[in-house]
Every structure is written in structure tokens, then in C-alpha cells.
């Protein structure tokens, strides 16, 4: 047996902008075990629910993460609306769906850029983020913010989109779709990219289900599970099909995310075509009393929201299970047996969001 040594990975690492720490137990260059430790960006946001009233907390919930911010606000609002027996107007549901799908595009393009950066393909990284910038401009136009949107409220949304904005989003989506083709082709067909991703970190469907993988990580292993099928917001009116792949390796995870970007384009167009006229919010009176549980499909996977209220304006408990929390156990399984040089790439393929995980 070769001599074992422990190499610390992170919390500051050139590949990942976020602080995750792993102790890698190595035998020569092969990882035999990875021990994670998190807690470097814990901010106690769940505890804040006891100090801020339930309407103020919308703004805090969306600051859990900079990429999934819209989804966090949406999940929290839907929980409180469920407790209070309030239903957001249909137009608000459609607007939420459009923003949610735009978030998915922006998250996946960000991930593609990070992947290209990890591969050392700087030009591809720049191209991915150039396309992402167009979606951020649309967020800026419609919500007033590029990352933090502050448009969700209990009972609907705060800002409407006029027909000009909807047309502009539609045009931008067409433009990104056209420009994404050579970028996507490079990720999926280029020999150098393929040589790094093909066959790396294979996760079987049984292991993915057994270890609780979610999102693209689960679907890349061939499990057709997508929380959008539950029909929250306006997803019930749209045709959502889970995007799956069968290989379960890093290339399959990349492929699923790229195909999900195209799916999001289709859903945005469909939502714009079907969006009804009407109010964007209903008035909410009183305080919530009861508890609710909600699951939504964030770009990185299924996120679970739990709210417990006691009849006052301060909630008893807000709990959030983020997709990265679920994807860490399968990630550790993938790391076992891989080469040290592939560790960064494998961590990246789960699309980790440490900021969400630690809240």
C-alpha cells in the first residue's frame, strides 16, 4: 500500500470563487477519500427570520445567494402565501416563471464559463459570460437589478413588464440562442474539452437516487425528475419535460445544462406568448399562522423551503435545503478514486453554491 498523504483543497482555490474546504487523502496522485468542511460564509440568515418581519424577510431570503436569488425569494413567498391562503394573480405567476427561467439561463451560462475557465479555455469562458451579460441586461431592464431583483412580494410581484419589455426579452433570447450555438458546440464536440470531461466522475442512476442527488446532477444519470413538474408558478400551463442524459459523467452533466438553457429559451417564449393581462399582486392583510413546505427547481437542482409561523409578524422558523447540500454526498463519492488534477473539475460539475449551502 502506498503511503497516504493529506492535501488540503480550499477554502481559497483558483478554480472556485467560493470557499469550500476539502481534506483530500491521497495515495500517490489518486484520491482515496475526501473530507469536506463548510462554514466559511455562514451568515445566520435563517435565524434572522426572528428579528425581521415576514414581509421584510423576502429581501433577506433572496440575498441567500447571488445566482439563485430570484428562486429563493419565490420559494419563500410561495410558502407564506400558502400559509395565508393567498394566491398570486396569474400574470404574477407568469412573470415569476419568466424571471425564474432567465435565472436558469444566467446560472447555467455562468457555470459554463467557470467550466471553461477550469479547463484553461479562457476564450470560451469569455464567450459564455458575454452571453450571460445579455440576460443580466434584461434583468436590469425589467427589475432594476442585475443579480438581486427585489421584485417578489407576498401576494405577487412588485413590478410588471410592459409589452416592449416582453418583446425585448424575446429578441434577446433569440440573439443568445443564435450566438450560443458555436459555444455549445465547442463544449459538446471539441476534442480537447471532451478529453477532459468524457468518462470523468461517472454517477450511476442508483447511486444518484440513493445519495440524494438533485437537479442536472440527477438528470445526467438518467433519472427524469424535475420539480417544475409540480406546476408551481405558471409551470402547470407550460410544457416542461425533464432533460436527461444517460452517461452520468461530467460531459453528461454539461450536456444537460446546455440543453436546459435551450429549454429555458422555449419556456420563456411560451410564457411570453401565453401571459394574461391583469393584476400583478393581491393585497395581503394580517399575519401568517401555520406551516408550509414548498419545493422549487432552482438552476442547480431542487430546493426545499419550510416556513413555520405563529400568528405574529415574526416567523418561528424558516428552513432552506439547498441543491448543493444534497449534491455534496454524491460529489464525495465521485472524488473517491479520481486523480488529483481532476478534483477541481469534479467539484465544479456539481455546480456548487457554498453561499446557499451555508446561508
Amino acid at each position: 500500500m502506498a503511503k497516504q498523504s493529506i492535501v488540503p483543497f480550499g477554502p481559497q482555490h483558483p478554480v472556485l470563487p467560493e470557499p469550500v474546504h476539502l481534506d483530500l487523502v491521497l495515495e500517490d496522485e489518486t484520491v482515496v477519500k475526501a473530507v469536506p468542511s463548510i462554514g466559511f460564509v455562514h451568515r445566520g440568515l435563517e435565524k434572522l427570520v426572528e428579528l425581521k418581519d415576514f414581509k421584510q424577510y423576502v429581501y433577506i431570503a433572496e440575498r441567500v445567494c447571488g445566482i439563485c436569488s430570484f428562486g429563493h425569494g419565490l420559494g419563500y413567498c410561495q410558502c407564506v402565501e400558502d400559509i395565508m391562503g393567498v394566491e398570486a394573480p396569474r400574470r404574477a405567476a407568469y412573470l415569476r416563471t419568466i424571471w425564474m427561467e432567465m435565472s436558469r439561463v444566467h446560472s447555467h451560462l455562468l457555470w459554463l464559463g467557470l467550466l471553461a475557465d477550469a479547463l484553461g479555455f479562457e476564450s470560451l469562458f469569455m464567450q459564455s459570460w458575454r452571453l450571460r451579460e445579455k440576460i443580466l441586461d434584461m434583468f436590469d431592464l425589467t427589475t432594476g437589478g442585475r443579480i438581486i431583483f427585489s421584485v417578489n412580494c407576498i401576494g405577487g410581484v412588485l413590478k410588471d413588464m410592459d409589452s416592449g419589455m416582453l418583446v425585448q426579452i424575446s429578441r434577446t433570447v433569440d440573439e443568445i440562442e443564435r450566438e450560443l450555438r458555436p459555444v455549445a458546440d465547442t463544449f459538446l464536440r471539441d476534442v480537447t474539452v471532451g478529453s477532459r470531461l468524457n468518462g470523468l466522475g461517472v454517477l450511476s442512476a442508483e447511486d444518484a437516487k440513493g445519495m440524494g442527488a438533485v437537479g442536472p446532477m440527477l438528470r445526467a444519470s438518467g433519472v427524469p425528475y424535475d420539480s417544475r413538474l409540480t406546476g408551481y408558478a405558471a409551470y402547470g400551463d407550460l410544457s416542461v419535460e425533464p432533460i436527461t442524459a444517460t452517461a452520468g459523467d461530467s460531459m453528461a452533466r454539461c450536456e444537460v445544462r446546455i440543453r436546459e438553457i435551450y429549454q429555458s429559451f422555449r419556456l420563456i417564449r411560451e410564457a411570453i406568448a401565453k401571459i394574461p393581462q391583469g393584476d400583478i399582486a393581491v393585497p395581503v392583510k394580517g399575519n401568517p399562522n401555520g406551516e408550509s413546505f414548498m419545493r422549487i427547481e432552482q438552476p442547480r437542482g431542487e430546493a426545499i423551503y419550510y416556513v413555520k409561523a405563529n400568528g405574529t409578524k415574526f416567523l418561528d422558523r424558516f428552513r432552506l435545503r439547498t441543491p448543493t447540500t444534497s449534491n455534496i454526498p454524491p460529489m464525495l463519492d465521485l472524488l473517491r478514486g479520481c486523480q488529483l488534477a481532476d478534483v477541481a473539475l469534479l467539484i465544479l460539475t456539481i455546480d456548487p453554491c457554498i453561499s446557499c449551502t451555508e446561508r
Binding site: K55, Q56, Y59, S123, L124, T142, I148, S150, C153, P182
Partner: protein, 144 residues
Amino acid sequence: MDQWKFTPFLHTALKNLFSRPDTVAYPFKPAVYPDRMRGHVVIQIEDCISCGLCARSCPPGALRVDRAAGTWTISRFDCVQCGSCVNACPKKCLAIVPGYTTPDGEKHTETFTRPPKPDAAPAQPKPAAAPAQPKPAAAPEQAQ
């Protein structure tokens, strides 16, 4: 391997060499903000009634309202531009406008004072105001 390509990115890379930059040449060209951009909070202090709803709705606690002095104070460093105060204001005298505030090396606050109303000015020298003053002073005496 027939599906694999050796240079699928070549066309994009060559195009990049001869295309203009995609970024804005700031600060040589001005930054353009959309109308809805949440830059900073401004107040129309003349319309403020010092109700304090904005301060109560502010998640980071960046606002302070002094009803007696007629002041509205904002800590620019604490403000997160969420717009909660703008939605809460009953007089609609608050607004979020495009453009960022200038950066600074230390925390500071900005205070706006409501100007006295023109018709309220002659009310100050009323003789009735004089006997009203000892009343608060009398209350602590009773308490003692």
C-alpha cells in the same frame, strides 16, 4: 469519433480578433442605466409626514426618522437598495433613482430636514405655546 470536431471554436476565435470589444469603454464613455435601475434612494422631504413607516420597513435598518425634528436620515452604507421603503411610503415621497452614490472611505449618514410650512410659521410665537411648556416638566415632578 466522427461527431468530434478539432476546431469548432476557430471561427469564433478568429471573429474575435477583428470585432469590436463587447464592453463599454467606461469611464471614457458614460455608463447607461435603464429607467428602473435601483441606484439610490432619494426623498422629496417637503412631502414627508415623518410617519416612520419607511424606517420600520427597512430590512437593514438604514433609515431613521425623527418626527419632532422633522428629519429623515439615511445611512448610505447600510442601504441595500431593496425598495422596501419606497413601497411602504404612504405619501410617495421616496423613490429609487438610477445611478450610484459616490464611494467613500468611511461610513456616513445623510440627513434631510423638512422645511417649515409657510402657513405654520406664524403659529410659533403664539402665547398659547408658553403655558404648554411647563406641562412636561410638571409630569416628572408628579412622578417623583
